[in-house]
Symmetry: C2
Subunit: 276 residues, 2 copies
């Protein structure tokens, strides 16, 4: 999309312009793909901005692959700033109107899961970690992990249980969740406590970050001084115990469509509730 259009300016001179894709919010996105001399880039960028101003455009986005890193400085010197970056690209943005920029926010949250997996003997699947603040504490805790971009919460819980313990499982419910702030790089964090049913029983520790894994009587898990003393662990243990006794209902995932597209996604709701 680095291809440029020649347009007639003032009826006299041919000026090169960046080619962008228009969106419904008055924005224009330029995806640079091919190398360009920085001084030529500045010339065509200025000419393009002049045209977009005449066209009453609002936000201008430039997506620069890391290979074109030499164009970052010229773009910033023309008034662009950073919107977000991933490993292989940087997204720059510029706001044309004389108003406060109204732009979609960067991703704001990380998402994680904790897995409550209980077998028919009333035993819960627990691990000891050999990294982070639990390292060397001897504390048995629920398997936990991060939900990847593009990954369903339910799939992430099943995957983490498999990675940390070798146990196959089926996702049942989100029992509770916690939102916290100022985790890595000042981002926020949502952590879902999930209920899963085990489909296999022989533990095979696989993850290098897990020191040990075992089935543990649920009473022994909740009796750990750490679980008793730390408010959030205590509360979660209570919820898990109530759920084990069928005195609690969480939110179950149901595959749903929006009707705007063929896209399917999970809606999590309480389908044990009341008469429904």
């Amino acid at each position: 999309m680095t291809k440029m259009q020649k347009v007639l300016d003032n009826g006299v001179q041919h000026v090169e312009l960046l080619e962008g894709i228009e969106d419904n919010d008055g924005g224009i996105t330029v995806q640079m793909t091919e190398p360009m001399d920085p001084s030529i880039f500045v010339t065509v960028l200025r000419a393009s901005l002049t045209l977009w101003k005449k066209q009453k455009k609002k936000g201008v986005w430039i997506k620069l692959p890391i290979e074109l890193v030499n164009l970052v400085e010229p773009a910033v010197k023309e008034g662009f700033w950073y919107h977000h970056a991933e490993t292989r690209y940087l997204m720059l943005v510029y706001w044309i109107p004389n108003t406060t920029p109204k732009l979609p926010a960067n991703a704001s949250h990380r998402v994680g899961i904790g897995a409550f997996v209980m077998n028919n003997n009333g035993e819960v699947l627990v691990v000891q970690e050999n990294k982070g603040k639990f390292k060397g504490t001897g504390i048995w805790k629920l398997p936990t992990g991060a939900v990847n971009e593009g990954e369903d919460i339910s799939a992430a819980a099943v995957r983490e249980v498999k990675e940390e313990t070798g146990i196959e499982s089926e996702f049942l419910e989100v029992l509770a969740f916690r939102q916290s702030h100022n985790s890595f790089f000042s981002k926020s964090d949502i952590f879902f406590i999930c209920l899963l049913r085990p489909l296999s029983f022989d533990i095979q520790k696989q993850d290098s970050e897990v020191e040990a894994a075992q089935w543990m009587a649920i009473g022994d898990y909740t009796a750990q001084p750490f679980v008793q003393q730390k408010q959030i662990f205590n509360q979660i243990a209570k919820i898990c115990l109530e759920r084990a006794n069928d005195k609690y209902s969480g939110l179950s995932p149901v595959l749903t469509t929006s009707g705007f597209s063929a896209k399917k996604f999970y809606l999590y709701f309480n389908n044990q509730s009341g008469s429904s």
Copy 2:
């Protein structure tokens, strides 16, 4: 933190080094704050990397404010890549060991809310939007909006209701949530359906993106063809109706501490469940 240390190298020559903060995972973070000539930057970066390799460091982070954009290209040419960016800075990263980089992920999700606000007359607070796919459709929908980085879900719901309708409200429960993928810039998205109790009743439309706002009999809201036909809207309407009839329970926020720090956060759980 751009201050450099002089160290004796080979017992002969003084070499400038970047000053970094060490973390518990073998990483080192350099926060550049003052301008530096790019060629000098390359020299001290190379010397620093040599030292960090000897010290068996793993991840090297360089945080570059946008004012130091002229150092982005030299860093990338030395083997750094992008980790994430916010408006005013770019975070670059480098992995020293000969292994696959193990780095904390960038934020992966945006978070949004939809607000179900019902008054004592069985009327629900609804709006018509004048942007996006609902513009000009005449559809009455629940107020919705984005949860900001660092903002509680419950606070975001109260804020959005106030912004879109002028109504003051109290947050009660998360009734359900939906996770979807590939929203803006390929990030994932979690959308919480929230129940709120109105504390005021006179609607004063304030948000420029809202065309109109009103109290609407809940039966009229759910009877809209759009709500009937779109699976997710239909399901959410059912949940709201059941909740209105006390036949549904969602997850309520309770302020909690982890015990690791003084930090407080909300744990959302079903405290209407069973006997608890």
